[in-house]
């Protein structure tokens, strides 16, 4: 498949249609985030599409920038992702999509979901081997206690699942270079090839 040479603006257009993959996809998103004009195009293309489909959406198009600006300042008050302390999301925004996670979901996600076992805002205390953190899934429970408890959460505790693409990449690196085990052949290797996703 020959690579198409395109201007960044054309990539934004293709991205809006969900027609980019792999490297081009990542580049287009990168471009969008670094470039004001590109974002203006992103807005304009989507507005045009919305208006073509239904004229009434035009009514809202005039206010879009103000809406985003207002949201932006509110988002800054939110706990930022990727920062210490942001590990436990608020639970009041549970949506219907969370109901009844089945025991065995097909792992067809492009990225893994990790179970958050214990998050702690700062690891100030030195934890001696043999002592383990009590699982503190609820953020309001205060500072983690040190106790001699099995770390794995019991079934009764709520399971907080997170996605972390950076972690997935490290996992891929661990499997690639670090999976040194007598079980590698064949079970370990086959298991990784079956279950793992190629890191982005």
């Amino acid at each position: 498949m020959t690579q198409q040479v395109s201007t960044p603006a054309e990539l934004v257009s293709a991205l809006a249609d969900g027609e980019l993959r792999g490297e081009a996809l990542v580049q287009a998103v990168q471009w969008l985030q670094e470039n004001d004009d590109a974002r203006a195009n992103w807005h304009a293309y989507h507005l045009v599409g919305d208006v073509l489909r239904s004229g009434e959406l035009a009514a809202l198009g005039t206010n879009d920038a103000a809406f985003v600006a207002r949201l932006r300042s509110r988002l800054q008050d939110e706990v930022q992702f990727g920062q210490p302390g942001s590990d436990l999301p608020a639970t009041d925004a549970r949506t219907e999509s969370l109901q009844g996670l089945s025991q065995h979901e097909v792992a067809n996600d492009a990225s893994f979901r990790w179970k958050l076992v214990a998050g702690f805002a700062s690891v100030a205390a030195v934890v001696v081997v043999g002592w383990q953190l009590v699982v503190g899934v609820n953020a309001s429970s205060g500072t983690p206690q040190l106790a001699r408890v099995e770390v794995l959460p019991t079934q009764e505790q709520a399971q907080v699942m997170i996605r972390d693409p950076r972690l997935d990449q490290l996992l891929a690196a661990h499997r690639q270079s670090g999976g040194i085990s007598a079980f590698q052949m064949p079970a370990g290797f086959l298991r990784n090839a079956t279950y793992d996703r190629p890191a982005r």
């Binding site: 198409q4 054309e10 257009s13 991205l15 809006a16 249609d17 969900g18 027609e19 980019l20 996809l25 990542v26 998103v29 985030q33 004001d36 004009d37 974002r39 992103w42 807005h43 304009a44 293309y45 989507h46 507005l47 045009v48 919305d50 208006v51 073509l52 489909r53 239904s54 004229g55 009434e56 959406l57 035009a58 009514a59 809202l60 198009g61 005039t62 206010n63 879009d64 920038a65 809406f67 949201l71 932006r72 509110r74 939110e78 930022q80 992702f81 990727g82 999301p89 009041d92 925004a93 949506t95 999509s97 996600d109 492009a110 990225s111 979901r113 997170i162 996605r163 972390d164 693409p165």
Partner: protein
């Protein structure tokens, strides 16, 4: 490849979600820019007051942002966002004890696709005269610009935006390479955007 999709494929939405989770709040803004109008229109069907519509829409995106950890990448982002919008609107209404514009039974039909409803140029009720005029002007400019396009550009962008075909499907319909489809859609968008952007900038003066 599945059938026609009007919203963009999962990949770009998912990538933007992942980047948001990795700490890039601007990636989330891109999703907001993409879906804000549809979400506001959805809420506008449930709620009469225009200011309230915007408040609820803001709240919807905040809640989505907070719950982003919980988004399961195997469903479409917009579907997930849609549900948050409906729930948020319902909560607001219960709290404020206002009567929704539509009845309960209409709310239950919440999974009809926005994109398929072609309601023409009806403005949302309770709009100020100025914004109604502005909306009509934008719609008029967009449609005029569309009609003014060369035939191949007009056909390509129509098949994409209104019929919801993928590039591959459009390539088959128009009997041309996919690269040409991409280029035509892009040029069509550029031609229309050029005429629309001045109208948008006048309104708020905000920069992206």
């Amino acid at each position: 490849m599945t059938g026609p999709t009007l919203s963009a494929g999962n990949d770009s939405d998912l990538l933007l979600v992942e980047r948001t989770l990795a700490g890039d709040a601007r990636a989330f803004e891109l999703l907001v820019i993409k879906y804000q109008r549809r979400i506001q229109r959805l809420i506008g069907r449930m709620v009469r007051d225009v200011d309230l519509v915007e408040d609820i829409a803001q709240e919807t995106f905040i809640r989505a942002y907070r719950a982003l950890h919980q988004f399961r990448g195997d469903a479409q982002f917009y579907t997930w966002l849609y549900r948050i919008a409906v729930n948020t609107a319902k909560k607001f209404l219960l709290e404020l004890k206002r009567d929704p514009l539509v009845t309960e039974s209409a709310l239950k039909n919440g999974d009809d696709e926005d994109e398929t409803s072609r309601s023409g140029n009806e403005p949302i009720e309770e709009e100020t005269p100025e914004s109604v005029l502005a909306a009509r002007e934008i719609a008029a400019v967009v449609n005029a610009a569309l009609q003014a396009l060369p035939e191949d550009l007009r056909q390509a962008v129509t098949l994409r935006e209104i019929e919801g075909l993928t590039y591959e499907e459009i390539a088959q319909v128009m009997d041309c390479p996919i690269g040409t489809v991409r280029s035509r859609i892009f040029r069509a968008r550029e031609a229309i955007s050029v005429k629309v952007k001045p109208l948008l900038e006048n309104q708020s003066g905000k920069r992206w």
